[in-house]
Amino acid sequence: MLDAFKSNDRPLRVQRVRYYRVPRYPAHTDPDPTLAPEAVPYPWKGSVMAAVLALSEAGCSKSETEASSADAPSSKKPLPALEAKVQKQIDEIVDAALREQPEGKTNPFAQKLGLSGLPYVSSPYGTGAPTPLSAEIARALIARIFKAEGLVSAPTTFAEKDFTGSVDGFDKEKRIGFVIGDWDSLDETAFGSWMSQELLRFASGDSPQVPPDEEAQLRDYMDRSAKWLFERTQLSEDQKAELTAATKLESVQEKAKAYVALLQKVEDAKISMAEIELAEKQADAHRRYLAIISIYDQRFQITEYDPEARDRFEALNLEAEKIKFESADEKAQWYRRQHDMLWTEMSRQRLMELARSVREYIAWARRSGIQ
């Protein structure tokens, strides 16, 4: 008791900390964790398109959306069945788009239009505010348009001289299809990441000699970078084994080389920027029309705080002032409802824009000569 009292009364003093256990969370010298899959997309309204569409309609029964019948071998996973209420909204959007008459004058997905957001460069600033297109919803919507246009949309894998990669939907006979450009389908040149650049630098031996006492740190850095890099991709069993083997390597250079070799394999199966551009240029010559639709296309993502959204929100405030609410709770609920409706509407607008663009593409391809 006396001792305890004494220790409590010892005067405060400056005392160096000789050893401090390194915390597990990343430091400023570690790879940027906002690139980890968990951080993407930007969290709060991350899945606006999916969530809001799902919220906004009262429950229906499970959808009959069939997984696209694979009439060609493909590494693409079959389409997951969307919730019935989401599917219903997609149907409505497509029906509305089908009532319009596309002009078919230009290819709306041409890279030169500069709207595609490609090549996408992941930035150390996280993903920022815009909410990208939901790949699932986009696939379902386009498949539905293809069907309505009398086209087949089957997942297909190409392994041709000038084009290697899996496409989400392709009509073998008419030779028209589409790819939703996301991290799974487009390679490093289209969806760049500084992590792979770092690995390449090390593998090529370009980086300055690493002092021996920093090797362990660097190994750890590379392992974590590689983990995030490969988490984005579905690896085969062989590739998984390769990844594990690389993790165990001691030499920094060897490790980098092993990761880069695996990266190359994984990336080879994806579509590159050069392939996209070539496919576009040679569409007529090859009679093969592939719409590459990036999930970061500016036309289809929601920029949460764009002027339109903000104006609409201000309008809501003015409207609220005119309403006599019984209680604060009622007012809050009213706001929430209005807010959800606003986001639903914006999601629908963006998807409508996508539906129009897809029809425009099909019309353009037809004018250009698909069967």
């Binding site: 220790s7 409590n8 009364d9 010892r10 005067p11 405060l12 003093r13 400056v14 005392q15 160096r16 900390v17 000789r18 050893y19 401090y20 915390p23 597990r24 969370y25 990343p26 430091a27 400023h28 010298t29 940027d32 964790p33 906002t34 980890a36 968990e38 951080a39 930007y42 969290p43 709060w44 991350g46 150390p124 600033y125 996280g126 920022g128 505010a129 949460e304 705080y305 903000r310 929100f313 201000e314 809501l316 405030n317 003015l318 609220a320 002032e321 706001y335």
Partner: protein, 407 residues
């Protein structure tokens, strides 16, 4: 020591408008409370000085901070300074902040501040019992009851309003409750600071450690509920790892980046040194003749000198002992680490790291963005704006009409 010219993108001038205050907080370091305030003529010359300095330094941003005593006792002067700076600024980014005890924030005063976009930082020590005990008025009566209307009024105007909570040896055992109380009132940005000049014992620090543990648990569970908030004690510590140590250009730099203008027009390196404005040892010039560079340089040299007692410490990059003014409060010297700062940082750092480890383990998206996405503060700010737009709308409408009346 003289830093490179143009090394400071922001120049921050703190105007001490008066020595007077309507409270008598136990731990106040701003000196005796007497009625001398800045005159209109001195204020005008101080504005000229601060603006010229920012232009000469080719600063991108001139920040004006109002301090006291209680700056709102000179509310008209404050408004006139803002208006003068805005007229002069032409093209330079200017911003205004005020540190206040909040008692004088009437709707009319808020409207004036809102119209001029003065960012308010309220000093409130927590729940009513703590506030009353630590921040009494000159008659010894508590001040909490007077804040009941003020808090929602201020937050309705600006949901980003910051709150500063001073932790003393007496309030340490309940520090967690004080902070939680403030968040429960709707604040989202809370800074905690110790009474660095207080008479702390190890027993007090042990109690504070327990409170930090409980607060750490709260921090984790709130983050898991996706609430966006800023709590300086943990967030700054975590940032010392995720962002690295602060550069000189981000710190006050003893009068080079940030300086205080006393009511008399004399210049001091930091708010801590103004006191009764008779601290000649610390005075580094005046608004008419500018800085005494030899004195300012010597102080900076002293503040930046390596601290022998810290040599080889594993926490030296993350510890708060870089702040010469905090050291000064504990040791009376700029160049010697304060034992209180040292003990406190050794106590807090592992708790903050445990909090961060837990959220990292879960890869909590909000944690990832808060600490690694440099755009987070802006995004979070905007999101709060959108969420609370309905509140601000009415207040800003009042403010705008008040400004029109004024003009």
């Amino acid at each position: 020591m003289k830093p490179e010219a143009h090394a400071f993108p922001t120049i921050s001038a703190t105007f001490h408008l008066t020595h007077a205050c309507n409270l008598r907080c136990d731990y106040c370091y701003t000196g005796e409370k007497f009625g001398i305030g800045m005159t209109a003529a001195t204020a005008r010359d101080a504005v000229t000085f601060a603006h010229q300095l920012a232009c000469e330094a080719r600063a991108q941003h001139l920040e004006i901070v109002f301090f006291g005593g209680e700056p709102l006792l000179k509310h008209d002067l404050l408004c006139s300074i803002v208006d003068q700076v805005r007229v002069r600024a032409k093209g330079m980014r200017v911003s205004f902040k005020m540190s206040t005890n909040g008692l004088l924030l009437s709707p009319r005063v808020i409207a004036d501040l809102a119209a001029r976009e003065v960012f308010v930082s309220l000093s409130i020590d927590g729940d009513p019992a703590t506030q009353d005990a630590q921040r009494p008025d000159p008659q010894g009566r508590g001040s909490a009851a007077k804040l009941v209307d003020v808090i929602p009024r201020v937050l309705a105007w600006n949901p980003h309003t910051a709150v500063n909570c001073v932790i003393t040896p007496k309030s340490a055992p309940n520090a967690d409750e004080s902070v939680k109380w403030l968040f429960a009132q709707g604040f989202r940005y809370a800074s905690t600071a110790l009474d660095w000049g207080g008479n702390w014992t190890r027993r007090d620090l042990n109690a504070l450690g327990k409170a930090y543990h409980r607060l750490g648990e709260w921090y984790v569970s709130e983050t898991r509920r996706d609430s966006r908030f800023y709590l300086s004690c943990f967030d700054e510590k975590i940032q010392s790892r995720t962002r690295g140590p602060l550069e000189l250009s981000e710190r006050c730099a003893m009068g080079y980046r940030q300086f205080s203008i006393a009511p008399s027009g004399l210049l001091y390196p930091c708010v801590q040194f103004v006191k009764e404005d008779d601290q000649h040892e610390w005075c580094i010039g005046d608004v008419w003749q500018g800085f005494d560079d030899s004195k300012r340089g010597a102080l900076l040299g002293c503040a930046e000198a390596p601290r022998e007692e810290c040599g080889g410490c594993a926490l030296s990059d993350r510890c708060g002992s870089w702040c010469a003014c905090m050291n000064y409060q504990g040791t009376g010297r700029l160049d010697t680490a304060s034992p209180l700062v040292c003990e406190h940082d050794r106590l807090l750092t592992p708790i903050a790291d445990r909090v961060a480890n837990q959220l990292w383990k879960q890869r909590h998206p909000l944690f990832l963005h808060k600490h690694y996405n440099p755009a987070f503060p802006v995004l979070s700010h905007i999101e709060t704006d959108v969420e609370t737009a309905r509140l601000r709308h009415t207040v800003l409408a009042t403010a705008t009409s008040a400004f029109a009346d004024h003009a």
